[in-house]
Subunit: 222 residues, 2 copies
Amino acid sequence: MTTVLVVDDQPLQRYGFRMLLDSVPETEVVGEAAHGAEAVRKAAELRPDVVLMDVRMPGMDGIEATRRIVAAGDRSRVLVLTTFDIDEYVYAALRAGASGFLLKDARPEELLAGIRAVAVGDAVIAPALTRRLLHEFARLVPPGGDGSAEDPRLSSLTDREREILVAIGKGWSNGEIAGRFVLSESTVKTHVGRVLSKIGARDRVQAVIFAYDHGLARPHGG
Amino acid sequence: MTTVLVVDDQPLQRYGFRMLLDSVPETEVVGEAAHGAEAVRKAAELRPDVVLMDVRMPGMDGIEATRRIVAAGDRSRVLVLTTFDIDEYVYAALRAGASGFLLKDARPEELLAGIRAVAVGDAVIAPALTRRLLHEFARLVPPGGDGSAEDPRLSSLTDREREILVAIGKGWSNGEIAGRFVLSESTVKTHVGRVLSKIGARDRVQAVIFAYDHGLARPHGG
DNA sequence: CGGCGGGTAGTACCGCGGTACTACGCGCCC
DNA sequence: GGGCGCGTAGTACCGCGGTACTACCCGCCG
């Protein structure tokens, strides 16, 4: 038996969910909440297996409520529902720790399957959203090692030049690079010049951008 | 009617898929391939709506075959199947352009639902994999704009300064920024100087790095 | 042997970038 | 009114960065 907390500011919507979930033996609605604050409170009190969370609500929205419920660490999984598949909602919800994201136009069996999956620790994403999520994901995953053809400009760099480019990507000045690599600044300048010419960059600023775009430099966040 | 090309090195496995897919009216297996090279060839020849692709195969593997089929641009969608949910497979497959990734232990209706979704342009991920994918995704998605506390250095920037920082992140020179923003170069220098001082960067190179690390500049790939 | 790619190093030149400082118009608020 | 934040603009200065060109050493290969 999977216990569910239904969060939505529209009573009729909550009623619909309750009818659906209580109509099957495996799920049971143990509570309802009309806004984020109430959701957080009831989640802590009722400790449901799954929280069915609407995004758009007056006061505290579903994203913030999700963040707090997940942060509370009561093992409740949050399945976010929304009418609109706005990208920001999806990313924000996932970052907030949601275990799933479905559209309200999902068929009943899809919703039930989603709740089942979430309840056992899996995650679900509406197929229509998955496509964009994957596209975004592929863009974010660092290239390399997966066999995809490397940019010819990158391949044209010698090992040394690649090191120099990485160093540029760290924000080091020519003098700093010379120091760390135990080289003369003249040599560094020679390398830098060759790197810029090979990758088609006008100056080291564009080289940094190139390095980031090609995975030679990685965000260190914060 | 959805046409499907089944790719697997094991004849018995192909037989199973064909039986399943031909047992329902909405899908039809129009061809089979035993390895990557054959898959690429037959995909170009038969132009199926969906390619059901095994990962592990002798010779050209499913990933490389996926890459080539997608690159061919024949509008065939690739649904990758594997027995093992090795992370690298998933990421590599998605980067290769696969529209979906399912485990072979999926229930028949799940597989059919997956093919349906892929055929109409959506994407599917096995729930068990989705969880890890989301976790990874949340890690990769840059902070900012989603409610999480923003870096105080970033918040201290005025709107104008933020625009300037973005422009720096594009690799523009002061002169170019002045031209595009219709400003004098002096003004740009003033802004740049303030930006550098506020974010604690020594020069515009480090500003670019800051911009990337904080999601103000985004890779444009390639 | 000679040639070539790669790494190292130097000199000379110039311009963009960054800093310091001043200045003014504007909207806002006490 | 006076102050303040913000955006705008200017002048002056200097140094790092980028370019052009030359040069030498090393390992490899035809």
